[in-house]
């Protein structure tokens, strides 16, 4: 089974991480990243050049932009493999859906979590955040993005095969991501350091649930 999981991880990473290089594949990391930076860049245009306001709100904006960027790849996570019949082939080979989606969560996180943390640095510079705030934002993203990845895979599995699934997926993720956003962005407030621990806790709950919830959703979508 280890061999099968490695093969899966290699394929998932190639599809999700490097996918953008090949026409017609599943997009890759670059688009959500550019989207994230574009949202971060729009904000100063909208609220004006008040440095104090930007520094105070910038961390929260980075969190909202990260959430929006995490929504972009949702329709590519599960649905194409259902359409291709990949899940049928995996089921025939006796590999449980729980394993498949667990691998996919890892690949999905690797394809957007670390790149997002990198992109948060220029975004933070744009808002003039100080060093401490940047550290808190980065730690919060490190704690929160695995939860976003797990949530994304759950919702992608639930909406796979539905008409308008892509729009529905975005709509479903936003309310479910509120705890992550509240704790993550809340950690930026003075004395809010415990927010990072709570973000991590919310992420762990989502990570623990996701393989089973998404696995069950895939099984029912397949039949």
């Amino acid at each position: 089974m280890t061999r099968q999981l490695w093969a899966l991880l290699r394929r998932d990473l190639a599809l999700l991480l490097l996918g953008g290089r090949r026409a017609g594949s599943r997009g890759g990391t670059v688009l959500p990243l550019l989207f994230f930076l574009a949202v971060a860049m729009l904000f100063p245009f909208a609220v004006g050049p008040d440095a104090r306001l930007l520094a105070r709100t910038g961390g929260g904006v980075i969190w909202v932009a990260a959430l929006l960027a995490a929504i972009l790849p949702l329709d590519r996570l599960i649905e194409p493999d259902l359409e291709l019949g990949m899940f049928d082939q995996w089921a025939l080979r006796g590999l449980a859906e729980e394993w498949i989606v667990a691998v996919r969560i890892i690949a999905h996180w690797l394809s957007f979590g670390p790149p997002l943390m990198l992109a948060a640095l220029p975004a933070a510079a744009l808002f003039g955040l100080d060093g401490n705030t940047i550290t808190t934002v980065e730690l919060g993203l490190l704690a929160g993005t695995p939860g976003l990845a797990a949530l994304g895979v759950i919702v992608a599995a639930l909406t796979a095969g539905l008409r308008g699934g892509a729009a529905l997926a975005g709509l479903l993720v936003i309310p479910l991501a509120v705890p992550l956003l509240v704790f993550g962005a809340g950690s930026l407030a003075p004395g809010g350091e415990t927010g990072i621990a709570l973000t991590a806790a919310a992420s762990l709950v989502l990570l623990a649930l996701a393989p089973f919830a998404a696995g069950a959703a895939v099984r029912s979508a397949r039949a």
Binding site: R10, L15, R22, A23, L84, M86, L92
Partner: protein, 197 residues
């Protein structure tokens, strides 16, 4: 060429019924297949051939009845299960890694010149042949083929018949759902119309 199938494969179904939505497609269907046997499931469109194949593979729950199977099942249906944007050779490599076995039949299937063509540009028949290459490399003793001749020219169709014959000769079993006639010596035939509800 043909990987040896496990000697003790077996597929049996008892009193199967299949319901899609509120329509019962067939009921009271029983079958029994041992290694070396092939069964052609015939019947017009919409009679439930594909559903039967999926039930036999464990991908769909029957609304009544039981299926018992020993030996891994391999499936070829209308979806190739190969990444559309990848060149064929690389798309097959994924399954080679997954199954731990090289896809050796590409030359026999006439695919050896298509290795660098993206799967999406392959014709229907070429995709079907690629799916057969994946199936052979899986080395599953139980073959479930859903309309394997669709989109194939007469040469390729003859090749499929030959592959199934080889597979059965080496101890495997095959269930072939097709509305087209398949000429295989010793193939049993199951007409789904007899079980239509």
């Amino acid at each position: 060429m043909q990987p040896a199938a496990s000697p003790a494969c077996h597929l049996s179904a008892r009193d199967l019924a299949c319901r899609r939505g509120d329509r019962v497609l067939f009921a009271g269907l029983s079958l029994e297949l041992a290694g070396g046997e092939a069964l052609q499931v015939a019947g017009p469109n919409g009679i439930g051939k594909s559903s039967l194949i999926r039930i036999l593979g464990g991908l769909l729950d029957p609304s009544a009845g039981t299926v018992s199977r020993s030996g891994q099942a391999g499936l070829v249906d209308e979806r190739p299960a190969l990444d559309q944007h990848l060149p064929l050779a690389q798309a097959l490599v994924f399954w080679e890694r997954f199954d731990g076995r090289a896809a050796a039949a590409t030359r026999q299937l006439g695919l050896h010149n298509l290795g660098d063509v993206p799967v999406r540009y392959l014709s229907t028949g070429q995709k079907k042949r690629a799916a057969l290459a994946r199936l052979i490399a899986q080395a599953a003793p139980v073959w479930l083929l859903d309309e394997p001749l669709n989109g194939l020219d007469s040469d390729a169709a003859a090749l499929v018949e030959q592959l199934v014959a080889q597979h059965c000769a080496s101890g495997g079993l095959a269930v072939i759902a097709s509305h087209q006639a398949i000429t295989l010596p010793g193939t049993r035939r199951l007409d789904l119309c007899e079980f239509a509800a």
